[in-house]
């Protein structure tokens, strides 16, 4: 299973971070996918759920998995189909989302971080963590 993209959207649906692991694909495609997943997340939130929202949608051969934090930050992971069983894939995706969440928390806790809600994430350490996560499940 390969992770193609990790995206983070803010409280108002604004894109905060997008990491595209495919050299040949344009970022725009993943921005679009993340944005369309927002509606699905909103629908899911109608019922009480845990942070990990699981599989949101499938577009072609790519699946989108979602995770929402208590502060309404949405984390989305786009991956291609794999041979493992759904539960193994689900736990792997959950693990990736939780690691991204932990990295995001570390970023917010940085005393030099002066970004507000609407700003994009600009941090080398965060980039490195997400970079490693992307290679984790190949």
């Amino acid at each position: 299973m390969k992770i193609h993209c990790i995206a983070i959207l803010g409280r108002h649906g604004n894109p905060i971070y997008l990491r595209n692991y495919d050299a040949h694909e344009d970022d725009v495609k993943y921005h679009y996918m993340a944005h369309t997943s927002l509606d699905i997340i909103d629908a899911r939130l109608a019922q009480p759920t845990s942070s990990y929202l699981g599989h949101l949608q499938t577009v072609g051969d790519l699946s989108v998995y979602g995770y929402i934090t208590n502060t309404n930050i949405k984390i989305m992971v786009v991956s291609s189909a794999s041979n493992e069983s759904p539960s193994v894939r689900s736990s792997q995706m959950r693990h990736v989302c939780e690691c991204v969440h932990a990295a995001y928390v570390a970023l917010v806790c940085n005393p030099f971080n002066e970004r507000r809600e609407e700003d994009r994430v600009q941090s080398e350490r965060f980039d490195m963590v997400v970079e490693k996560l992307g290679q984790l499940t190949e």
Partner: protein, 187 residues
């Protein structure tokens, strides 16, 4: 002798000091540094301010440390260094730096592996460029504490993990003993 200091430090940490939440402490310190940077704009003066802050803390901590432990007078600079590292740092920061890189018996380094103040912190490029020592307050603390022990010392940062080095290193040079009247030993 070294083992004795370690035991004193561990015992003091376990029983004699009240603990505070680590995140509260490091966020408070982080906000302090950020505010100082905003006020001063120049990293050298921020370093100096942090050193002064640390000095004021250090002169008070020295007495506090002796009140809470069973330490005796240290006979020489080497045991002073051990006491600072194994008792002082352990009690107040719960980290034990390694004492090393001695020159001339009055100059040594404290190598701090896991400085709790550095958690979550990532220096912005401007601070990196201009030479900010984020934990410079620690230098002031050591300088103030040593001065209460009648040793005038120069304390400065050599390396810092936040700047990309592999470990944090504080260099201490005891320049002279300050004149004092030595009271007769009680024991």
């Amino acid at each position: 002798m070294a083992k004795q200091y370690k035991a004193i430090g561990d015992e003091a940490w376990k029983n004699s000091v009240e603990k505070v939440n680590a995140e509260l402490f490091i966020f408070t310190y982080g906000s302090l540094v950020v505010q100082l940077l905003r006020d001063h704009e120049d990293c050298t003066s921020v370093n100096q301010q942090l050193d002064k802050l640390g000095y004021n803390i250090g002169v008070r901590l020295a007495d506090d440390m002796f009140a809470r432990t069973t330490l005796d007078r240290c006979p020489d600079v080497r045991s002073t260094a051990d006491a600072v590292a194994k008792v002082g740092f352990r009690m107040f920061l719960n980290t034990t730096p390694t004492v090393g890189l001695w020159t001339n018996d009055n100059e040594f380094s404290l190598l701090i592996e896991d400085n709790p103040l550095n958690d979550f912190c990532e220096l912005p490029p401007r601070a990196l460029r201009d030479g900010l020592w984020y934990s410079n307050v620690l230098c002031g603390v050591v300088r103030g504490a040593l001065e209460m022990m009648h040793m005038q010392a120069r304390v400065w940062f050599v390396r810092d993990v936040l700047r990309g080095d592999d470990t944090s290193e504080i260099r201490v040079r005891v320049e002279r003993m300050l004149d004092e009247e030595v009271p007769a030993a009680d024991e």
